[in-house]
């Protein structure tokens, strides 16, 4: 049963020697042995190094050394974060055998806290997708209903945490890739302010939008992990040089007088009625706790999806150029006439459909004659969206909305229709465009599937977002678990 617990609960057990880190690690691997066949959350498992890491933690405890809050905690890492000596594939054939000689900064920071890495989780190839169906290797199932998707792109991370195959996981969020799968899997997922968690070693999808964040079983764990991974990195020019508060101090459950805005654009016709109902129920709980709820408008947010699907592919088309078969990764075995031929065949074989689609889209949006109308216009619309958020945040402390317009959908349901799939991110994309923090927490079940509540905050105001989320979590007390 150890695997069901949260990091802060397990930390206490480790501290009073109720349980050893090795026992804990073995317990989680046992759980993986039982359910992984159904869920398929992981692309690779690293049991041996995990046990030796756990053993080191036990040695420290035995020696009476201080251990950190995350020491010995079994952790899953999304497979787009470089892990030294451990295969990092981005769920792509083009990186099928890629072994980095360096670790991403966020992972390194977790290792500094003595976490125990269990393995690397499945995802949509290069984080492009909302269902994890775009993995080049296999699809991951939603633990709540194996016929449905776990969301994406961090679907493996969210499913692993939901299925108790990891205590927590790291994901990355470019247009909702942490929050949307967290929502669909009934766990907590947070995208911090852009620049708060360093991106070094995160294999880039869209540089101006990508952000690493935690996927956890509760808000307390989320705060603990933020404490470990946030803060300036000299290897990342876009990481913020700002003082990092102790995020656990936000966990007060007091939101009296908190001003909550509910953007009407996020509660419109595209949102499933059952989802809307649970969000409205949640708002009543906030009200009961003393928060002030008002409807607000973000007039340009309707254009967010369009802007996003020009900006993100444009950046991606450039970021993914380096996968060319010269220095690492797949190279075609076919006969080639010259380098153009080698590049084209290598990339055609190495990338899946969705990745190709976005590379083409982004290349087009940046190409001569279209730059102004598409890419640059999208960046201007982005300004309008940022301004919208700034305006409402003058009056409101947080904004609340659904995380995903629907609960988990069936495998294959949207796979053939890219545009329909893109709609899964309409509630999450605006926060990426504006760079603001957003969290998804469970707010109930609809038809036996979890619904997530999104709370967005001001730039660098993770404290208020966490406080709001924690207050809701304490009051609402979502205790359901998937039956696996």
């Amino acid at each position: 049963m150890l695997h069901k617990l949260t990091a802060h609960e397990l930390h206490k057990k480790l501290m009073n020697k109720e349980v050893s880190a090795v026992e804990l690690c073995k317990n989680v691997f046992e759980r993986i042995g039982v359910v992984e066949e159904k869920v398929k959350a992981y692309l690779s498992l690293t049991e041996e190094p995990a046990l030796s890491m756990a053993n080191e933690v036990d040695e420290k405890i035995k020696a009476g050394n201080d251990i950190s809050h995350l020491s010995g905690i079994p952790t899953a890492i999304k497979d787009n974060m470089c892990t030294k000596g451990v295969k990092t594939t981005c769920a792509s054939k083009i990186l099928e055998n890629f072994i980095p000689s360096y670790s991403s900064t966020a992972v390194k920071r977790l290792f500094n806290e003595d976490i125990v890495m269990l393995g690397k989780t499945n995802m949509d190839e290069f984080a492009m997708g909302s269902s994890t169906e775009n993995s080049a290797f296999w699809i991951t199932s939603n633990p709540w209903n194996l016929k449905t998707v776990p969301g994406g792109s961090s679907g493996g991370s969210a499913a692993a945490v939901a299925a108790d195959e990891a205590v927590f996981a790291l994901g990355s969020d470019t247009g909702g890739s942490i929050r949307q799968p967290a929502s669909l899997c009934g766990v907590v997922g947070m995208k911090p302010t852009y620049g708060l968690v360093p991106r070094y070693g995160l294999i880039a999808f869209a540089s101006s939008l990508d952000q690493i964040g935690p996927i956890t079983k509760d808000v307390t764990d989320c705060a603990l992990i933020l404490n470990a991974i946030c803060g300036k990195d000299l290897m990342d020019s876009t990481s913020l040089d700002t003082e990092i508060p102790d995020y656990t101090r936000a966990l007060t459950a007091d939101i009296k007088g908190l001003k909550i805005g509910v953007p009407k654009e996020f509660m419109g016709e595209g949102i499933d009625a059952k989802v809307k109902k649970l969000v409205n129920d949640a708002l009543k709980i906030f009200e009961k706790m003393g928060a002030v709820i008002e409807e607000v408008s973000l007039p340009h947010v309707d254009a967010a999806l369009s802007a996003y699907y020009l900006i993100a592919p444009a950046e991606a088309s450039s970021n993914l150029a380096r996968f060319d078969g010269v220095r690492y990764g797949h190279r075609t075995k076919q006969k080639v006439e010259n380098m153009v031929d080698m590049y084209s065949k290598t990339r055609a074989e190495g990338f899946g459909d969705e990745v190709k689609r976005r590379i083409m889209l982004g290349t087009y949006a940046l190409s001569a004659g279209y730059y102004e109308a598409y890419y640059n216009q999208a960046q201007k619309v982005r300004t309008l969206i940022v301004d919208d958020f700034n305006r409402v945040f003058e009056k409101y402390d947080v904004l609340v909305s659904p995380t995903s317009p629907t609960v988990a959908f069936k495998v294959g349901e949207k796979f053939e229709n890219p545009l329909k799939m893109y709609m899964s991110d309409i509630c999450t994309i605006p926060a990426n465009l504006a760079g603001i923090p957003g969290i998804s927490i469970p707010c109930g079940l609809a038809d036996g599937l979890p619904v997530g509540l999104q709370i967005m905050g001001k730039t660098l105001d993770e404290m208020t977002v966490l406080r709001t989320a924690y207050a809701f979590e304490q009051e609402f007390g979502f205790k359901e678990k998937p039956a696996l």
């Binding site: 055998n97 254009a303 010269v326 290349t363 598409y374």
Partner: protein, 94 residues
Amino acid sequence: MAISKKEVEHVALLARLSLSEDEKEKFAKQLSQILEHAGKIAEFDTKDIKPTSHVLPIKNVFRKDEEKPSLSKEDVLLNAPAKEEGMFRIPKII
């Protein structure tokens, strides 16, 4: 905004993706659909609006001009698809 097969071919060459005839047609159709939706952004008046390429309020992030250790030769070529004499080997260029 419909994209022709010819445009798909041009973009595929720029992006170094070899596509089958079927793929070209499929992408022409799908990209047209997506761009039609994305074309919504043209409806907004952005005459005096500056583009946001970065939401960060920061500027002037620099590194001191100091030498740091490089990778070992083994690590440089660890994942090389083909190598020769400590270099990456590639097919002829033209």
